[in-house]
């Protein structure tokens, strides 16, 4: 390992994290049946070898529930992060390229969206879509774009000043072609990092609105639901109901955040010096 420089290490860590997350996402799908299975002879068990995460008041296996919830979180996170990143890309490019009026209007919209405390906005959008799975996905996906689209807008404005883009415009290359050939490829690193850095936020907000009761139905073993249920049993000392699912969620978010951060550093030209 010593001979490895930090870029190689980053690459390795990145791949490991990706594989781990995929594994959790897949495992959760297969465990869904087990997560719902009740067994009243095995209820309220503290963690043991058989039930590493313990069982709840209906005798359900907390490990299976946690994994299922994580899997759901990861899938929702990936979906919403992708949607919001694409929205951010479109809005950022539009603001930068379609003239000052469009720019002013879109910037105003970004300010507007950022003015509402995030969790309130997610609640509002999720209400508009009738709560449930759609509500959560819409709420998270439609509320995350402003910060990334600001970054993209700034980047495009900078690219437009680049000599080769100005030359292409002067030469009469159609704008659409300029965007596709000269601007989009250069946005890719920023966009990719932005995309991955959206995951942690998306997952955390998904868990939060679900916790508050705006999202998935109580039957669905989402992490937010599990933690919300566990709250009622906290005072009776059933610590495992809240500790393990939450810890697992933090780990997943950390993995995503770490991946995004590493990718950002890898793609950052300044990191070439070390």
């Amino acid at each position: 390992m010593k001979a490895w420089n930090s870029r190689k290490k980053v690459l390795l860590l990145f791949c490991t994290a990706a594989v781990l997350l995929c594994a959790v996402a897949v495992a959760g799908i297969f465990l869904e049946g087990r997560a719902m299975q009740t067994d009243f002879s095995q209820k309220n068990l503290a963690p043991s070898l058989q039930y590493p995460f313990g069982t709840d008041w209906m005798g359900r296996d907390m490990l299976a529930r946690t994994l299922t919830g994580l899997s759901l979180s990861i899938r929702i996170g990936v979906l919403t992060a992708a949607v919001s990143a694409v929205i951010a890309l479109a809005i950022g490019i539009a603001a930068a390229l379609l003239g000052p009026k469009v720019d002013a209007a879109l910037s105003w919209c970004m300010d507007l969206v950022m003015g509402i405390p995030h969790i309130l906005l997610v609640m509002l959008i999720s209400l508009a879509f009738g709560r449930g799975f759609t509500g959560v996905v819409a709420g998270v996906a439609l509320s995350h774009w402003p910060s990334l689209s600001r970054v993209i807008r700034g980047e495009v404005l900078q690219l437009r000043q680049a000599a080769y883009v100005r030359a292409a415009e002067k030469l009469g290359v159609p704008r659409r072609r300029v965007v596709r050939r000269h601007i989009l490829p250069h946005l890719l690193p920023q966009f990719l990092t932005g995309l991955i850095l959206q995951f942690p936020h998306a997952i955390l907000h998904e868990a939060s609105v679900t916790f508050l009761g705006f999202g998935l139905s109580p039957e669905q073993p989402a992490i937010g639901v599990i933690l919300s249920e566990s709250m009622r049993y906290l005072t009776t000392g059933k610590w495992w109901l809240a500790l393990f699912p939450g810890l697992a969620l933090v780990l997943v978010v950390l993995l995503f955040a770490g991946m995004g951060e590493r990718l950002r550093r890898l793609l950052d030209p300044a990191s070439a010096h070390q």
């Binding site: 105003w108 919209c109 300010d111 507007l112 950022m114 003015g115 509402i116 405390p117 995030h118 969790i119 309130l120 609640m123 509002l124 959008i125 209400l127 508009a128 879509f129 009738g130 709560r131 942690p200 955390l204 868990a207 939060s208 916790f211 508050l212 009761g213 705006f214 933690l227 566990s230 709250m231 906290l234 005072t235 000392g237 610590w239 809240a242 500790l243 939450g246 969620l249 933090v250 978010v253 950390l254 955040a257 770490g258 951060e261």
Partner: protein
């Protein structure tokens, strides 16, 4: 001076327009909701046993029979006269509820805001000037961990440790249960606010510290710090004389931008600690499709956030010599 007033005026106008936009957006979102407020609040079975006239009356009460534009304009003209309507759930004027709850939350929010700002700045500056060394790694690790932790889970953890396990602090509510309103002391209130405030501060620190760290690194790599080193200034002197001075401006922006985050966090934290503040009532209003109340809360919190941004902009003008002197000259 005239220049500055113009600047403030422009910002204020923008803020009013943004608030209008927020109210319209929130109103539209809530009206779009396919959820039937009658079913949510009255219940399917109760509805089934009601006469059509009763249901009609209820629908009027929940505002389901008036066209959208008319309802919004009606709300807006009332709101401009200081009447935000009556909460459907609590049957009290919206502003009165918001006022009460905000009074409960304000101390909590303020303490968390100041604590997270001061701690975040200190940690960020420390990490930035020890870049890559142990203090930096510890602080960065802490920030990464905290920003990956849902605020409500952290609240649950603190609750488990300090209230259930150690028994040092109360489980919830802003006041002891079963005590008369008159006999609640300030100490009681403080005692019940410790954990929520702590949770909010802990989570708020991460963002501010990480951003301050980036700024501090920029400063430490700047040419003027290089020159200060070339002139034999000690590290301590560089951090105190140049570092803090140049981090101060972005810190103002960060600090006021964090208001939104603190309010958002309070929604979750108050829910966990059953703290009867603005955040908790927002959740109730949302779950109960209480349009006037949720709308009022959204507009009021957005107003607080925009006011924070405005203050940051104005403070910038006072602190930044380029704006201060530049404006004085023109």
């Amino acid at each position: 001076m005239k220049h500055r007033l113009q600047f403030a005026g422009k910002k204020l106008l923008r803020m009013v327009l943004l608030l209008l936009g927020v109210s319209l957006a929130a109103f539209l979102l809530m009206s779009l909701s396919p959820l039937d407020p009658l079913q949510t609040n009255v219940g399917q079975t109760a509805l089934g046993s009601m006469s059509p006239e009763q249901i009609e009356k209820l629908q009027d009460y929940w505002g389901m029979n008036t066209p959208l534009a008319e309802r919004y304009l009606g709300w807006l003209s009332d709101a401009l006269h200081g009447d935000f309507g009556v909460s459907l759930l609590y049957r009290q004027p919206v502003l009165q509820i918001i006022g009460q709850r905000l009074a409960n939350s304000l101390g909590l929010l303020f303490v968390a805001w100041v604590l997270s700002g001061v701690l975040g700045l200190a940690l960020g500056v420390t990490a930035g000037c020890f870049r890559g060394r142990l203090p930096d790694r510890l602080i960065r690790g802490y920030c990464l961990l905290i920003s990956s932790t849902p605020a409500f889970w952290l609240a649950l953890l603190l609750l488990m440790v300090f209230s259930v396990w150690l028994g040092w602090l109360p489980v919830g509510l802003s006041v002891p249960i079963g005590v008369e309103v008159g006999s609640i002391t300030l100490a009681d209130r403080l005692y019940h606010a410790i954990l929520p405030a702590l949770t909010l501060s802990i989570t708020g620190v991460a963002n501010i510290a990480l951003h301050t760290r980036e700024k501090m690194i920029d400063v430490m790599e700047s040419e003027y710090v290089l020159f200060a080193r070339a002139r034999g200034e000690s590290r301590r002197s560089i951090v105190l004389r140049h570092g803090l001075r140049n981090v101060a401006l972005p810190a103002i922006t960060l600090q006021f931008a964090s208001i939104s985050e603190i309010i958002g966090g309070s929604v979750l934290v108050e829910e966990v600690f059953s703290y009867p503040g603005l955040g908790q009532v927002a959740v109730d209003a949302g779950l109960g499709s209480d349009l006037p109340l949720l709308l009022g809360i959204t507009v009021v919190t957005a107003a607080i956030v925009f006011a924070g941004n405005l203050i940051a902009d104005l403070l910038y003008g006072v602190v930044d010599p380029k704006i201060r002197r530049g404006a004085a000259r023109s």
